[in-house]
Amino acid sequence: MTKAIMIIPPHADSLNIQYLTRAAQKISDHIEAVAIGPKAPSSLPKVIDKLWHYPIDQKSELSTEQCYQIINTYFEQGHLITLSGTFSKELMPFLAAKLNIMPMTDVIAINTPHFKRAIFAGNIIESITSSQERYVLSVRPSCFKQEYELSPLNAHILDPLDIVSSDQSLSKENSDLPDLLSANVVVSGGRGFASEENFKLLHQLAKHYGAGLGASRAAVDQGYIANDHQVGQTGKIIAPNVYIAFGISGAVQHLAGMKDSGTIIAVNTDPDAPIFEYADIGYCGDLFEVINRLLAP
């Protein structure tokens, strides 16, 4: 049986790695993992046979071309599978074109050789069948939720290749909040905040309760908050246990990013807001009143 090579993205957390493992199990019984980055995970689900690590220096960022060279040099065989996200969006189609394989990305269900993907911003599900010998795919972790018993695994270090690191520099907001992709509870805000100043209240709320901070595209476009908080089809696709949407109307592309959450709670002044069709609990009223009550000592 062809083995599955799990590519662990540089910023993936343990829970998402477990969900990726679930997806990898659906394509092979033999799973190996490769981490490209400053650190390799110290423990992984027991079902993973082997862990490879290509160490890079904390400060440098590898380009897609370099990641491709590493994968192509050390993993000439096996299905290649990773998590959805900008890392895989850059790498997988590039890698696939180099290998002359049509990639399957943002996959939401696997029953080999059949796969499903969401298209039209999640309004339609596309079923596809592959006759490929080797798969190149990325999966949405929220669709493969399973937790595993972890066990320590020593990484086999891969020899460095003669490649130069690129000159990209990443500017990132210093965050005092949990990672949006793995937060248990996410509070998220939309146009209803009406200003960047007001949006800071939501940041306070997230900080106060240790929740992840999300935003609709409208809020990001208005400049209330940085793009890395955007939840939706073109932002991050998340599925926390609880998603609390303040002042978000629920445009289709936003719903695509959060509709697999455990419980959805929505607060909006408009009783006809589409988000209420998806919310387990809805409240029609002023979001500021609600947030101020939650922040009150």
Partner: protein, 247 residues
């Protein structure tokens, strides 16, 4: 400098796509169609570059048949100098399209390929990356800022972790994100003028692309709908619920 902008016609982003009776395609007859929004942003950016640098020539290109003439004319009405139609089925898979584009680009002399990061129908987000791999050109994906320097380009890109700033060399492939710009409105006289502009047609055979698709779409279906929950009328009750889950 020559810029190639790829454009795709898709169902208007405000229209909810419906599955056709064959169970494998979506209804397009009588449905409002338009620019894939990311392609429109890419074209707008090329036009803004040309406005600052008068030596820039913009070519708009799409893959499809006669039904695609309108999107190319619209591109020229907006500001593209010329347009190219590669005559092929526009539902080919993304690797096939990337190979077609790569074969075409290899024959021409372009400095920048500006593309939307994805189309809002297939939601693949593949072709710019594939073209970079096939042509061995640098790529800058998900751009929210593009500034042309002498022989290089400064870009800002939107990634999951924040914004990446980098400089890349020509020739290159750039893909646009939503915040790159807001496309202009096209005045009617320009649309009328563009009706008589020529469209260069290229047959698929002339590009000699060797490709056998290995992925087949078997069906389209609707996602499971979430059950609508309940509305809470009382603020105190809501606060109690929220405090319960936020702890």
């Amino acid at each position: 400098m020559k810029i190639l902008v790829t454009v795709k016609k898709t169902i208007d982003y405000n229209v909810q796509a419906q599955i056709a009776s064959d169970g494998k395609s979506v209804v397009e007859d009588g449905v409002k169609m338009g620019f894939n929004p990311f392609c429109e942003i890419a074209l707008e950016e090329a036009i803004r570059i040309a406005e600052k640098h008068p030596d820039v020539e913009i070519t708009a290109l799409t893959i499809g048949g006669d039904t695609e003439h309108d999107i190319l004319r619209k591109s020229m009405a907006m500001g593209a100098h010329r347009s190219v139609l590669i005559e092929a089925d526009n539902t080919l898979d993304t690797l096939h399209k990337a190979k077609i584009l790569s074969a075409y680009i290899a024959k021409e002399h372009y400095d920048i390929i500006l593309m939307g990061k994805q189309s809002i129908d297939g939601d693949h987000n593949h072709i710019p990356q594939m073209l970079s791999a096939l042509l061995s050109w640098d790529m800058g994906l998900f751009c929210s800022e593009i500034e042309i320097k002498d022989k290089s380009i400064f870009i800002k890109r939107e990634v999951d972790e924040g914004i990446i700033s980098q400089t890349i060399n020509l020739p290159c492939i750039l893909s646009s994100d939503l915040r790159l710009n807001t496309p202009r409105f096209i005045p009617l006289p320009k649309i009328i003028q563009a009706k008589t502009k020529p469209i260069e047609k290229i047959s698929l055979n002339s590009l000699e692309v060797d490709y056998t698709p290995e992925i087949e779409r078997t069906a389209l279906s609707l996602p499971e709908k979430r059950q609508k929950g309940e509305m809470v009328e009382d603020l105190d009750q809501l606060i109690e619920i929220l405090k319960g889950v936020l702890k």
